[in-house]
Amino acid sequence: MGDHAHGPAKGLSRWLFTTNHKDIGTMYLWFSFAMFILGGSFAMIIRAELFQPGMQLVEPGFFNQMTTLHGLVMVFGAIMPSFVGLANWMIPMMIGAPDMALPRMNNWSFWILPPAFLMLASTLFMEGGAPGFGWTFYAPLSTTYAPPSVTFFIFAIHILGLSSIMGSINIIATVMNMRAPGMSYMKMPLFVWTWLITAFLLVAVMPVLAGAVTMMLMDIHFGTSFFSAAGGGDPVLFQHIFWFFGHPEVYIIILPAFGVVSQIIPAFSRKPLFGYDSMVYATAAIAFLSFIVWAHHMYTVGMPIAGELFFMYATMLIAVPTGVKVFNWVTTMWRGSLSFETPMLFCVGFLILFTIGGFTGLMLSIAPADFQYHDSYFVVAHFHYVMVAGAVFSMSAAVYYWLPKWCGRMYNETMGKTHFWISFIGFNITFFPQHFVGLAGMPRRIPDYALQFADFNMMSSIGAFIYGASQILFLYNVVATIVSGKPVSDDKVWDGAEGLEWTVPTPAPYHTFEVPPKIDPAHAHT
């Protein structure tokens, strides 16, 4: 119990031993950016190989390792930790709490991540190479035919799951227990709501993933036959268990992004969020539906027709709450006093591109049509529209929006807008043509392709290099802001921003809300 005005400890021990939610949030954010660069460099290798038809740069086996590690690093290393970092920074400040509920465990949740990814990346240098069975690691590719390094992959997944579960328990306990007096659930900022529901999804499905990799471990090393028909098991069982985790996982990635957009669009529309209550209910509905749609990833696996129909209709239902959200964001902007600073640009980009990704998702949900689209580049285009233009764009928006509050300095607006436009154009050049080559039959995860796909693939590769380069501009802008950005001192950096985080000084002091703030009961929601 130190002095009220104390600051952080000095040197490395500040970061190793910290219990401060802002320090831990910062570490998560930097770690996720490092992983974003690592996973991005894998993507650059993929696009370089696919620049022209024929084998260009890498061996097919190594290409498979690149697609696998690109997916794993981006999903588990870049996107998920980035939103956990944001949750750490923002949730206590948004609900008026002094810190996360369980600060020491919070630190542990972070510190097991870097060694886990070190272990995962080290498989590249092991005998037999890194895992090359795709980020979905379907059996028997990941069991019978896996390289020995699969064991390290399995344990890395176990550690990542442990980190996610502990992080989520912390978030749930914080939101349920640490809200300032007077902040009822229906007064919470929407980012807090989406994270509460995301954390619930994580606690529910990460153990299932742990179960799946444990069965793999047993099949590979200890003679069980979960995924081997010769012993009475079934490789398709793996897919069911994996996607029972995997489908909620995509909402784990996108729900916090929804939360970010729901904070930023009202701020730059200078209007309260339209349909707050329906936003909350829609988020909960999406979370519920995410548990009963998993097999739409496996329409072509040979399910009974009743299964195909059930999963098709259940999947289509998700369009309803998602539509509610999109319409609410648009209606928030309607007749607002709009301005388009960088965070808002990224949110509008999110809104347009995520909706495209949603529509292609709806196309893929139609079981008979999916027989055509399955495992084609159409699928690759679809999920990059939701993962990159959805999650990563909203993450960029969040960084620009809250960075002045975090470090007390303003980023360079011109550079930010340039980053947005290069990202937006580069992203669309990369992934829009992939819809066409996919519909025309180009399969995913193959290092070579038929000649008729050459032009669109070259476009994709050029777009990918542009998008990749724009992230360096992003990094430069953030570092330049922290080091020498123009100081800002207003508590409320953005004139239209609402919420408790804008009531504390800028930059946010090391400790905030050691005494809970008073919530104005007349305020609809913050």
Binding site: H4, W108, W111, A116, V203, P207, M215, L217
Partner: protein, 323 residues
């Protein structure tokens, strides 16, 4: 805290710094890395490389020592009165959601059991739209549960080695299912059910003891609970010995052996954890005089965990042994 407190607000204790996370990380990573290297040596390389197991054991020691110090620290903070009511509620929520995550871990294995028994198994045996594979690959395989013959055995001959990717899945001679009504008293799972159900009652009586401030009653019934846990584990070891030595039921016994050992094995591991947790609470009370009638969260959390393990067993008994 020197900060001015608003009336009626108890400060929430936020520790300044802690080395616990770093040591726990070192322990966890060493043990996991050692285990992975050791397992890989066994499967792919030379089996005789004790270095990896040494690394694993050192890691486990560091991990357990860290947990010990970490929990002791948390307990001391509570005794020193640093924990506000709000902080205690954080611990309650943490334990609840931890148990929920454990529950979901078992859901994965029960899901595998249901899928194999009700869908994949019958398809392998030739039923329904999925049944065409029976004639193509697994000619002669008939599905029953418990599985009396694996598909590999049904195909037989040299071809079955190829088809199983050099695996060897030989079904058990005898399953663990209830065999003869006349010999019910010799059926271990029934005894284990009785033991575990009674232990839930005894731990509840122990709880009532501490609520009344009756420490003798608390010690007696908690000690009995720990004893029942130990008996349960001993019987399960006996059962596993029987399975391997006399029933031919091993991890290699096809999907029946896989689901049987993984479900009962993970449950058994959780019983071990629960017994250890309750045993530590008993020691804390007997030697340290910990717990009062209105503050005994360490015991309460362990007892919730114990009830959870009990509920999982009820499902196990039903779906693994009886049905």
């Amino acid at each position: 805290m020197t900060a001015q407190s608003s009336p009626g607000h108890e400060p929430y204790y936020v520790p300044e710094q802690s080395k616990m996370a770093v040591f726990a990380t070192i322990g966890l990573v060493l043990s996991v890395f050692g285990a992975a290297t050791g397992i890989n040596d066994l499967t792919f390389g030379e089996p005789d490389q004790p270095a990896s197991w040494t690394v694993m054991n050192i890691g486990l020691l560091v991990f357990i020592a860290t947990l010990f110090i970490w929990f002791r620290m948390a307990i001391r903070e509570n005794i020193a009165g640093m924990n506000s009511a709000q902080l205690k509620k954080s611990y309650v929520l943490g334990m609840f959601w931890f148990i929920f995550s454990e529950f979901m871990f078992f859901v994965a294995f029960f899901g595998a059991l249901f899928y194999v028994r009700n869908l994949a198994g019958p398809w392998l045996g030739g039923e329904g739209d999925g049944g065409r594979m029976n004639g193509l690959l697994w000619e002669g395989f008939q599905f029953s549960w418990p599985m009396t013959q694996t598909p590999q055995e049904a195909v037989g001959g040299a071809g079955s080695q190829v088809i199983a990717n050099n695996g060897s899945f030989t079904s058990a001679r005898t399953s663990m299912a209830f065999a003869e009504a006349s010999a019910w008293y010799a059926w271990l799972p029934l005894w284990n059910t009785i033991i575990l159900l009674s232990s839930s009652v005894t731990v509840h009586i122990a709880h009532m003891g501490i609520l009344d401030g009756d420490r003798r009653k608390f010690h007696k019934w908690l000690g009995l609970t720990v004893l029942l846990g130990v008996i349960f584990l001993s019987l399960q070891i006996a059962e596993y010995y029987e399975a391997y030595a006399h029933f031919g039921l091993t991890l290699n016994s096809g999907i029946y052996g896989s689901t049987f050992f993984m479900l009962t094995g993970f449950h058994g591991f959780h019983v071990l954890m629960g017994t250890t947790m309750l045993g530590i609470q008993l020691l804390r009370s007997m030697r340290g005089g910990h717990f009062t009638s209105d503050d005994h969260f360490g015991f309460e959390a362990s007892s919730w965990y114990w009830h959870f393990v009990d509920v999982v067993w009820v499902f196990l008994f039903l779906f693994v042994y009886i049905l």
